[in-house]
Symmetry: C2
Subunit: 218 residues, 2 copies
Amino acid sequence: MATITKENYLKALYFLHQKSDAISLTDLGKTMEVSKPTVNDMVKKLHDRGWIKYEKYKPLKLTDKGRKAAMQIVRKHRLSEMFLVQVMGFGWEEVHDIAEELEHIKADKLFDRMDELMGFPSVDPHGSPIPDKNGNYNKPNYKLLSQVPENSKVVVRALRDSSTEFLLYLNKKGLQLGTEIVTHQIEPFDKSITVSYASYSETTLSSSVSNRLLVEVV
Amino acid sequence: MATITKENYLKALYFLHQKSDAISLTDLGKTMEVSKPTVNDMVKKLHDRGWIKYEKYKPLKLTDKGRKAAMQIVRKHRLSEMFLVQVMGFGWEEVHDIAEELEHIKADKLFDRMDELMGFPSVDPHGSPIPDKNGNYNKPNYKLLSQVPENSKVVVRALRDSSTEFLLYLNKKGLQLGTEIVTHQIEPFDKSITVSYASYSETTLSSSVSNRLLVEVV
DNA sequence: TTTATTTGTTAGGCTAGTCTAACTTTTTAA
DNA sequence: TTAAAAAGTTAGACTAGCCTAACAAATAAA
Ligand SMILES: [Mn+2]
Ligand SMILES: [Mn+2]
Ligand SMILES: [Mn+2]
Ligand SMILES: [Mn+2]
């Protein structure tokens, strides 16, 4: 397929597409932490290979082919994370960095075997969907905990941020995927929310936290 | 540590050292499948980093530091192979190529966890020793099946060749690590050997095969 | 609707890793 | 012990991926 560098550009483009349909060179440069001339050069190469649509001074778009290529890397990343947690016993806060390396392994049979061994999981340890071999996945429409009304019962289904810092915070608070939460009051001043769940009969989560938790209303 | 390319040069140097104490630039070039100027350049870089002893027109030698670095890669390779077989259910003929990729993963905790999960195995699926974190391992002195006298009882302990072709041959013949073999006659003409073991009460192995099987006399 | 700011491009240069062609040393065989 | 062969080196060039400095185009502000 591509070099590790090009795979990382594709992945970055895929994630930038979640925010907007058209991507600026500058944004891609910021994400990849490289200069504008560097990204400009690279963009021409990605275009030559048919992964992106590119015209001088126009915004970038992944082609279908590019999106599919990106999804394969995301698939490998998420399968790896799930495998590291489920089979190898790592904590959900430890796996991202290892998966950043594993996602570039070419041997497809490694990932197919992981998949099979785990019984074809549909989400990774952080609740993000695992694309299938054709790059398809179903995007369930969860709500942010911050958008749920008072006195609702919800279940934590996914995270909008999988940084180690946030995951360690969740560990400390005893919050996991599947945790059932009941919302009480929302403080109008700072939008903090009082909730109860298994570990806590009454505790407050800041809006910064409730904005990162994706929940299903039950 | 090093780039993937440099890691592969170090590994090649380590394996060439098993044959001779001093390595020629030409041999290293052949192993790495690169031209002499390429290897000449690289050798200077490896020397600058203290991994090899190098003087113009003199043969190459790994330094202690270089040998240790090489052993870490071998360790990662063999742990990976063993993990792929024992935990993931791959056949011993499938794992080498995957391990060639996995050995370059930087995340040490991945390999430490594999090691732990398997109970600190001392050999890989082909009977090659797995170095510990300091690069040490014990080199048992097995005999080649071709060197064992007639009417001996031996156990297959390791392979001198782990190529897919040879492994597939062994699969077909029902030969594995641990197989107990009794030797009968050695044909003087071509040094082929008649043996019996679990799958066969009487079968002949060519010298090409008996030269690749490392056995322990019991 | 000019001017200022942001965004994108070009030119030129650097390292890592590779090559071929040509040359020099060392080794081997006459 | 000299000539041929092999091994090693140098010079110059190429791609991938990165950079800074300088400039051009597009967009936003005045
Ligand atoms: Mn991740
Ligand atoms: Mn994840
Ligand atoms: Mn191997
Ligand atoms: Mn092996």
